[in-house]
Amino acid sequence: MTFPILSVIVFTPIVAGVFILLFPAERKTEVRVTALAAATFALLLSIWVYISYDVNAAGYQFQEAYNWLPTLGIGYHVGVDGMSTPLVLLTGVVMFTGVLISWGIEDRPREFFAFLFILASGVFGVFVALDLFQLFFFYEIAVFPMFLLIAIWGWIKTREYAAMKLTLYLFIGSVVSLVGALAMYWVAYQNTGVLTFDMLQLEQANFSEQFQIIWFLPVFLGFAVLGGIWPFHNWSPDGHVAAPTAVSMFHAGVLMKLGAFAALRVGIMLLPKGAEYWSWLIMAFAGIAVVYGAFIAFMQDDMKYMIGFSSVSHMGLVMLGMSTLNQNGLTGAGVQMFSHGIMTALFFAVTGMIYDRAHTRQISELGGMAKIMPFATIGFIIGGLVSMGMPGFSGFVAEFPIFMGVWQVQPWVAIVASISIVITAAYIMRNIRDVFFRPMPENLEGHITDVTVLDKVAIATVVILMIAIGLFPSVMVPMVQSGVENILRLLGGV
């Protein structure tokens, strides 16, 4: 029997989380060290998966399948393809960096890390799930701790409102999707006589075109709510703002990808005819999200709101890429999920570092951070360049094929969406200039200290990834392409 590496990755965080809960509450250092050890372990395993993934072999790799409730056709089936492998790595990176920058949390770190790790397990679980029921199971596991993490450790002014809003949005979305999933389950049973939630079998279930057209929108949009698609994005900036730093990182960095990924895996891959039918609508929503998100971000004074809306804009690009249903667009979407994940995690990490010291996130009240925290400044600038789609960084590698894909379908949308690039440049550059380079306001003078060594490690980790992908697209793109081929096969050959 081979080493069940995916299962180990999925359950490492949750086991570590339970283990952490057994510690006495006042042993904070031990809690942190244990958390870091678990996160490092998960990161190393996800790097291992990433490196040993065979790009030339088609299909799902590292598969494990066990029966769980055979009478209902529910199993435990995990495996990764070229789309999900980068996302597993992304989760590992965000978990690792999230623990590093949460080192200073003094308010019940034990419970904080435990919930954070349950969340992480849920995220890993969704990315590797090949069973629809299991996917929902982990999906809810990922969403539920968010409520507690935001409501307990969040920003005191809006945390209860934001936590409730977020949870309601996401639960309603997932319930809508769940209905669609159950419809697929029953219709597949009628078509094939097999009760199964296994997605590899559902792919072969011969859903009629009419069925696919009816159910695609609920399934896709239900998940896409978590992906922050316009007009259902409203929960997301509020949630980002209210969440504590590590949770914002997880939220924007990974959780939004969860929505986009599930929408792709369940919506597009299981209902390809529906996707073809409705792709114009998804493209319209996504195109609006890209431009509208950028404009709204431009208007924000709160750094976290700015990043939150920029996430709406960038996740719009992911959806835009998916809606093209062609090789370029889907490849770009896959890379953009990773690129946006690390970029936005970096943004929230640095914003958190600033907030911890200055106790404000208002751009108009900040200034002069570059002199005190040069390392974080460089990190934020590089993140900004990624966000602007500057060549040489991962954002360009991701966005360029997306735009190429859109050209192949709707040239006008590419032209309109490109406006967001200039708007993004404007708000990012303004933010960098105001927060980091103009003279520091007097009331902050003397209160700001440099970031810690752990923070620097976290920043360096993501910055290296952004530059590596930007300079050498081949470290990630061929892998994503191998996953895209599978999707294209489903789109073309059902």
């Binding site: 060549p391 360029f400 094929p401 192949q408 709707q410 040239p411 032209i415």
Partner: protein, 515 residues
Amino acid sequence: MDFINNYLLSLILFLPALVALVIFFLPSGEQKLIRWTALIGSMIPFALTLVLWFSFNSNIEGFQFEEQYTWYEAINSTLHLGVDGLSLTMVLLTTFLTPLAILASFGITDRVKAYMMLFLFLEMGMLGVFMSLDLLIFFVFWEIGLVPMYFLINQWGSANRDYASLKFMIYTMGGSLGLLLAVQLLGVSFGTYDLPQLYELWPGAQTLANIPITWLDVPTIKTIAFWAFVIAFAVKVPLWPFHTWLPDAHTEAPTAGSMILAGVLLKLGAYGFLRLILPLYPEQAQVYAGALAFLATAAIVFGAFAAYGQTDFKRLVAYSSVNHMGFVVLGIAAAAAAYGSNNEIWKASYPLALNGAILQMFNHGLSAAGMFFLVGVIYERTHTRDLSKFGGLFPLVPVYGGILIFTSMASLGLPGLNGFISEFLVVRGSWPILTVYTAISMLGLLFTGAYILKGIKSVLHGPMNEHWAQGEHKLTEINFREIIVMAPLMVLILWIGVWPAWILDVINKAVVSLF
């Protein structure tokens, strides 16, 4: 030696970045060490460029020293490098000016490490544009150069730097947006970004594969794409009316930043016209050559008037760039108009205009860098650039005055110095093709003389401003390091003015086979 010959272009291209990385690991306190590392590091690419220059065979048409590496396989873009006479001239200009600009920045004491690193990355970005034979790589380097320049202006600039740097960034990025979309259009249509292939495919293309545009015919799409390219490059050149970022950016940038901005960065735009627009859009360029000539003439005339109207020394020099770069575009417009013509006079004239345009790019690089440096020298001592605050400084600083007059005369186009050769070639080549515009431009030349003499007069002549004559404000003479910066520029200015054949030989072959 084989290694160097085989990888000459990539060595020249990436060595600056390598030196920047070395500097990154030097201690920030060791300013002297950092400066010298940057200077010596930037002289290696220059030395290699000399090797390139002498092993370049100017009798062969087409690109030489080609290298091709996989870069972004998924969308078929490769790191394809190569030079012809046009690129080679620009590479020489870049690697020649960068060490001088770094030497000129030895006075910088604030965050020397970051400054020098940005400068070297800037050099890499510019070299990449000049060397790339892949449309996407061209765009990549085109954009990469923006970032270091933005931060050089924003961090080391003078009072109004925030405004100027953001304006520079947004103008250039906004201008490049159309270029980005047009690049994608080409890439999606033909499945490749390789320029030599696109030269074959795009001008004659009757249909666009993969692009579902039905409501516009292909010639219209091409015209739109043509203008998208033109605007991106026109912002950079800059052509009237896209030039308004330039005076701000130049004025606020640190001295060495202005040197590179005027010396090399503006050439990127003109280079784009020559490398991309003429070969890719010969027909559209011919149709709209009149419009280009109009904009160029406007730049020449308005640039000269605007320069005359300035009271700020640096702004005066900045507007002179608009004026001089106008001649480059005038030459390009003449060549565009002559495309496919059967008129024997036109066919004989347009190579002259193009030769002149390219030589003018090189010459303006030398004289503008020199002028900005000289403005910086006096600004460093007086902390003002206001022309009315100077006056009669010649007796105080005779050496500086001599150098200033020499460089100004090159800018003015005095026969015997380099500016005359290139402007004469442009005017001579454009005259039969675009007679009216050329005639108006020559009137513009008159005002070039006027504003340059005004600048010299306000600084050096007239009644001496006693403020600078003695006491704590006593003006000091140009120092040895500064003379070392100016000396190579002056030598080249004179050399090209007296004997231009060595450089025109290289340029000419590229011009004939350009499109």
